[in-house]
Symmetry: C2
Subunit: 204 residues, 2 copies
DNA sequence: GTGTACCGATACGGCCGAGTACCGGTACAC
DNA sequence: GTGTACCGGTACTCGGCCGTATCGGTACAC
């Protein structure tokens, strides 16, 4: 019965209730996240998103009940693991690569995190979505990296610095703009890894 | 001519143009900063501040032209150096004490920094005030601490970890809430110093 | 070809906050 | 004692956004 026949005109346009394609949805999400980065969460308006995506407010409100729910959905959909898949066989190399990768998306994600800074403390769903989207995946990837290093015997299990590595990486990334007005780039982070992280782990 | 005669009824009430005493002004400032911590910068209203301090909006607008200027003034006035004066003669001890001190004001200032997170990127005066009030003094104090340690020969001059210490301390402090939902307390920070900062400096 | 239901547009009600204007009370200045 | 100027209170204008309602067009379903 080929219930999902795909002989349609383009690709996946068969049987759906909403006429909003996943691509269109991503446009909405990208637009709202970009507006958040630029104007801050509170200043983002559904009208603004509707205008830049050339849809109508009604369309947005048909899919998502309120602005926080809409934003939370956008966050969840933007979930990507930036530096998963890094596995060079050496913890030091893994950390350097992670630092380099982090430097690349630093600007965008830091701005997003910054802009959502307070909204998160008052809306539980938003906080959850933010953590799922931007924080947890990276932390988990880092922890896996460290676990592998421990398993290989590069660092003794229970080394006191281990629990702080993720917080340090994230922390340095995030506060750089506040301290001297520029985002942390890859070079800065790699040098940080070499100057601090590796010595703290006894790796250099 | 005793132009500043102080034989008045209470204390310093002689010759001024505004009837707002410095104590009263501090009430305004405390109120607005507290509202920012609780509701975020955008949600703070002049009306709210006026209400909680039992003054009138007119009074606020007579002294400060706009809301951002008012907030910036409040920030500048709140400038205090939390861990200046720490000088134990040992860099390791200095850093431990700084960590402990930081843990104590962590909640309040982190919330403030968080709440102002984005407002700062769009208002230059606010950004400047925030940096003057909450960031620069602490960084400067930390750097003095490190300089003294170098001068005493505890750490070689130009040690690569030196430039990252302030960013690390600040960073860990600020991201703790995002990572696992609680503010960094003194214990957490002291253990961080011992597990990471001191080893990175070759001090333990 | 007819029906259905979603899309985009627009208009609307309601709320709220920034600043402003005005007004009576009052405390210090001289 | 008189003047002055600031304080607190209130009322007001203006603008902006949330969320809803309504309407014509249109694309897919059957």
């Amino acid at each position: 019965m080929t219930s999902q026949a795909a002989d349609g005109p383009d690709t996946v346009v068969a049987s759906r209730r909403s006429k909003i394609t996943p691509e269109r949805e991503r446009e909405f999400f990208d637009a709202v996240l970009e507006q958040i980065r630029e104007c801050g969460y509170d200043s983002v308006t559904m009208e603004g998103v509707a205008a830049t995506t050339r849809c109508s407010k009604s369309t947005l409100y048909r899919q998502w009940k309120t602005k926080p729910q809409f934003v939370a959905a956008a966050l969840r959909a933007s979930r990507r693991v930036r530096f998963a898949g890094i596995d060079t066989g050496s913890l030091a190399q893994d950390l350097r690569q992670a630092a380099r990768a982090a430097g690349d998306w630093s600007g965008k994600d830091t701005r997003l995190l910054q802009a959502l800074g307070h909204a998160v403390t008052s809306d539980q769903e938003l906080a959850q979505a933010l953590r799922e989207a931007l924080v947890h995946p990276e932390i988990a990837a880092l922890e896996e990296m460290l676990d592998r290093g421990v398993a290989r015997g590069e660092v003794p299990a229970g080394h006191p610095a281990l629990e702080y590595i993720p917080a340090m990486m994230f922390g340095v990334l995030r506060v750089r703009p506040v301290l001297n007005g520029q985002y942390a780039d890859a070079d800065y982070l790699v040098r940080f890894v070499e100057a601090v992280v590796l010595p703290a782990l006894g790796l250099s």
